[in-house]
């Protein structure tokens, strides 16, 4: 491989990388609602950073670095239950799927209950096929949850969303793995970055954990999915808040 090949590969790899936007916590530090930025008579925003620094100096925590705003302390705020769910019904997974299939659920916020588990294991994901000559999006949209769909999420029954079973087969030096999905209804939701700290180690080494979340379907990012996956993405349940997570 020549230097030029390396340059081209680097440019291509970075171009196709789908990177997340800054998390809400960071944006909240600046505290300027984007819809208030435009206009000449907008109120002078009160920069949260200024207060943050004053507070930091007062409590003398600056010396310990930037971790004084630890993610843990923010998680509650991010995951706090919003007060305005349009529908007070708490759906089970099968009820949600049925209501969606019947066209009764649009993008309105809904509550969902079930059991959270994470059966994902380290494995390589085939890189998506990128057709550079085509103008249609060939890179999986984030709501497609490419490669890991079905490995983590919410089940209706008290069971893990999937199990990886290893079988020793003749002719194979290493055990062959296959994934066996849950017997009952389940779904893999899209989880925003801000909520992963709450969920990432839950239900992985432990039994499934009862959970109640608030979320929505028909997320506008579905339009960024590949044409064949747009419906899958519209049907993707996007978590907005974790209302209850009974880890004990």
């Amino acid at each position: 491989m020549s230097d030029q090949d390396t340059e081209e590969r680097l440019s291509r790899d970075y171009r196709i990388a789908r990177l997340p936007a800054a998390p809400t916590r960071l944006r909240a530090l600046v505290d300027v609602p984007p819809n208030r930025v435009a206009g000449s008579n907008r109120p002078r925003p009160r920069l949260a950073l200024a207060g943050l620094i004053v507070g930091t100096v007062v409590v003398g925590m600056l010396a310990v670095g930037s971790n004084f705003l630890s993610r843990d302390r923010w998680t509650g705020a991010v995951g706090a239950a919003p007060s305005s769910a349009a529908d007070a019904t708490i759906y089970t997974v099968s009820e949600l799927l049925a209501a969606r299939a019947a066209g009764r659920l649009g993008s309105a916020p809904v509550r969902l209950t079930g059991y959270w588990s994470d059966a994902s294991v380290p494995h390589s994901c085939a890189p998506p096929r990128v057709d550079v000559a085509s103008e249609s999006p060939m890179i999986p949209g984030e709501l497609e949850i490419n490669c890991h769909d079905g490995e983590f999420g919410i089940t209706e029954r008290d069971e893990r969303i999937a199990e990886f079973i290893e079988t020793e087969l003749p002719g194979h030096e290493v055990p062959q793995s296959r994934m066996v999905p849950a017997a009952g209804p389940f779904l893999t939701p899209w989880v925003p970055d801000g909520l992963w700290p709450q969920l990432q180690d839950v239900g992985r080494e432990t039994p499934p954990v009862p959970i109640v979340v608030l979320g929505h379907l028909d997320d506008p990012r579905a339009e960024n999915c590949r044409p064949e996956a747009v419906k899958l993405c519209r049907d993707r349940f996007v978590i907005d808040a974790v209302i209850e997570l009974r880890t004990n």
Partner: protein, 178 residues
Amino acid sequence: MERELTDLSGATKGFDFEEAVHRHLDRAYRLAGLILGSSDGAEDATQEALLRAWQARNSLREGERFPAWFDRILLNVCRDRLRRQRRITFVQLQVDAPTTTRDPFAEVLDRDELGRVIATLDPDARMLVVLRFWADLPIDEIASRLNVPAGTVKSRLHRTLGDVADRLNQATKRSRHE
């Protein structure tokens, strides 16, 4: 910053710091994430850079564009973090070690051999690669952000790409022999 004006003290007047940060935030977060290889690190580094930038906002002078100014602060934070990580852990990166993360920045580094080689570069070389090939910055802009002459950027970039290509070739040979 079209509305930037400068008063006699040199501090930028009429410049909306918050608005500029808002416009630049996503890019800054991604830049930090690609350099540090983790979303947690990116969040912490961006937050620290925001604090430093807010404290130093009066040093933003006429003609100095906010993105370059903020990038310099962020890159310094990232460099410190990468060096600190190495000092504290004293471990060689295990390029073949499996990961369980879905961290999008770690995935970029773990996607293939090229990403894994990039992950082992020293902090300055990694920043150089990200600024050139992800941020798509010209040499003089990179030089301004890293506070080194353009010629140094060119030679370091050339050396880094050669090093990366060598390591990739070695990895290819190894995999053929296995």
